[in-house]
Symmetry: C2
Subunit: 318 residues, 2 copies
C-alpha cells in the first residue's frame, strides 16, 4: 500500500508501521511529523519509507507531498492527544488539531484524486453519554467534557462536511483507551509500567503516585487498534464512524494489580491531587459490533499478553 | 452599562448600540473590529464610545483592553457569518471564528474579574433536527450541516468548557434569521429590499435573481434580537443557551411578496443556480419559551412593521 501517515513520530504510528511491514507486501510510506521518529525506519526490510519534517498546518506543503507521492491512503494520527495537557492549553490544542486536519482535507480536496483518509478520533467525544449507554454505540449523543474531546468532536463535524459535500472518502474512528510499547509515560498505563519496572529493579522507592484509578476503561492493545485501522482502510464504509475498542471494561486499578502480580512486587499507592482530572467519566466501554460487522476485524491480543509485552518493553528500556 | 462589543462594525452591533443609547443611562462602549464602523459614533448623545481596530485573534490585545476598560459585559458578535462564504472558505471561517472566541475567553480567564459574556450563535446548529422538531427547543440534538454552523457548534462546546471548568459567566444564544436596516445585501432579505427599491425607482430592470425562496424561516426583526441580548445580559441564567426567535415560520417568498405589495410593484423572479445552497433545511422555526420564561423578553415588532422599516432604510440609501 502507498500510505501517508501524519503524526508519524507517535507511538500508534510506530505500531502501524510494524504491522504493514509484516502484513503488506512492498509498502511505501511517507511519514509526516514536526518531530523526528524515535525509531530507525531503515531496519525494516519489506517497506520503503521517507519521513518529512513539515508544518502540518500548511495546506500547500500537504498538497506538494500528495502530488509528489500519490498516496492511496492517509492515516491521520497527528494530534495533541493528552487530556491533561489540553486542560492547561485548551486554545492551542483546539486550534492545532483542527488547523492540521483542515489543511490536510483542503489539500486532498484540491489534489482531486481519490484517497481514502482514516481520521482517528476518541471515545472521549461521548463524555457522560458513556455512563448511560454501556457498551456505547456510535449512534449515541456526544458530550465532550474536556478541551481535547471538544477539539476531536469538531474534527468529526468537519470530516462530515468534507465527506458529504466535497466528496472526500473519509472514515472516522472513535478509538478507546489504547496502550502498549513506545507510549509516553504521560499516559497512565505507560507510567505505571515504567515506574513498577524501576521499582522492581530497585531504581525507585516502592511508591507509585496515582490519580483516580477506579475509573473503568475499555483498554485495548495498540496492536489491535492499528490492526483495526488497516481493516478500516480495506473494508470500512466511506463516511462512517467506528468505535475501535475491546468491549471489555476494566478499572485502572485492575491493570495496575495485574502488573504488580506479573512483576511479583507490591507498591504503596499515593494519590497526587495534580493527577486528578477536572472532569472524569466513571466508566467508558464501547460496543465494537459495527466494526466487527463491517470489516470482520476483532481484537486478538489478550489483556494478560498486553501487560506482559508492555512490561517486557519497559524492562529493556529502563 | 460598561460594555465591550466585538464585531462592532457589523449591523447587529449598530442596532444594539442604538438600543442602549436609548435605554441605558450613561453607557460606556468599547467597540472592537478589524474594520471601521460605518456610522458616526459621535452622533449619539447619551453614550460614551471608543472604537479600537485590533486583531481579534490576539489574546494579549484583548487582555490589555480588559485591564484598561474594565467592562461589566461583553457582547461577542465578531464572526464570519455568511453560510455562502463558509462553503467557499470553510477552513478560514472555522479557524477565524474559533480563534477569536478562544482569544477572548483566554483573556477574560486571565483577567480574572467577573464579566458577563454573551456569545451569539445560530439556529443553523440544529440542521435537520429542526425538521423533526418544530418549533425546536434548546434541548434538541445538533446537526450542523454547513461550515459556518460547524464553526458555531464548536464555539458552543468551547463556551461550555470555559463556563463549567474555568468559571466564566457565559450565556449563549442560538439566534434565528434576523434582518433589518444596515444589513449587507449578501443576506437574502437585504438583497430583496435593496433590489426591489432600485426597481421601484427604475434604476434596475424588474427582474430579481433568487435562490430557493420556499424555505420556511423564523424571521425576527434585528431590533427584537438586540433587545433580547440586553434582556439576557440582565436576566439570563449563567451557562444557559437560549433560542432568540419569533416562533413564527414564514417562507422567504412570503417576505418577498410583502415587500412587493408595500412598494406596489411586481417583478419577474429568476432562479440563479449560484444562489442555491449545497444543503438547505426546508424549515427552521424556534421555540422562544425559554427566553420568555427566564427574562420576560418578547418580540415586539410586527412583521409588517419590520418590512416597512427595512424598505424605508433602502429608500433613503439607494
Amino acid at each position: 500500500m502507498r500510505i501517508l501517515i501524519t503524526g508519524f513520530a507517535g507511538f500508534v504510528s510506530r505500531h502501524f508501521f510494524n504491522l504493514i511491514s509484516e502484513q503488506e507486501e512492498d509498502s511505501i510510506v511517507i511519514g509526516l511529523d514536526r518531530n523526528e521518529p524515535a525509531f530507525d525506519i531503515n531496519q525494516y526490510k519489506n517497506i520503503k519509507c521517507e519521513t518529512v519534517k513539515t508544518d502540518l498546518k500548511d495546506k500547500n506543503s500537504f498538497l506538494n507531498i500528495l502530488q509528489t507521492f500519490s498516496p492511496e491512503y492517509i492515516l491521520h494520527l497527528a494530534s495533541a492527544s493528552s487530556v491533561f495537557y489540553s486542560w492547561q492549553h485548551p486554545s492551542e490544542v483546539f486550534l492545532n488539531n483542527n488547523a492540521i486536519f483542515l489543511a490536510l482535507l483542503d489539500a486532498v480536496k484540491e489534489y482531486g484524486k481519490n484517497i481514502r483518509i482514516l481520521s482517528t478520533g476518541t471515545a472521549d467525544v461521548y463524555g457522560i453519554s458513556a455512563i448511560k449507554n454501556s457498551p456505547i454505540h456510535e449512534t449515541a449523543s456526544l458530550h465532550p467534557e474536556n478541551p481535547y474531546a471538544v477539539s476531536k468532536t469538531s474534527q468529526e463535524m468537519i470530516a462530515k462536511i468534507y465527506a458529504d459535500n466535497f466528496g472526500l472518502d473519509i472514515i472516522q474512528t472513535r478509538s478507546f483507551t489504547h496502550f502498549g510499547a513506545y507510549q509516553k509515560e504521560n499516559f497512565v498505563l505507560a507510567k505505571f509500567a515504567k515506574e513498577l519496572t524501576l521499582i522492581k529493579k530497585n531504581k525507585q522507592a516502592p511508591v507509585l503516585t496515582i490519580g483516580n484509578i477506579d475509573l473503568i476503561r475499555d483498554l485495548t492493545d495498540v496492536r489491535d487498534v492499528t490492526n483495526a485501522y488497516n481493516y478500516l482502510f480495506k473494508k470500512g464504509k466511506a463516511s462512517e464512524i467506528y468505535n475501535v475498542c475491546s468491549e471489555k471494561g476494566r478499572t485502572l486499578r485492575n491493570a495496575l494489580e495485574a502488573m504488580q502480580k506479573e512483576l511479583s512486587i507490591n507498591v504503596e499507592l499515593k494519590v497526587d491531587e495534580k493527577l486528578l482530572r477536572k472532569v472524569d467519566i466513571q466508566s467508558i466501554i464501547g460496543s465494537n459490533k459495527k466494526i466487527k460487522n463491517d470489516t470482520a476485524w476483532q481484537p486478538e491480543i489478550s489483556f494478560e499478553q498486553s501487560i506482559t509485552d508492555l512490561l517486557d518493553y519497559w524492562d529493556k528500556k529502563v
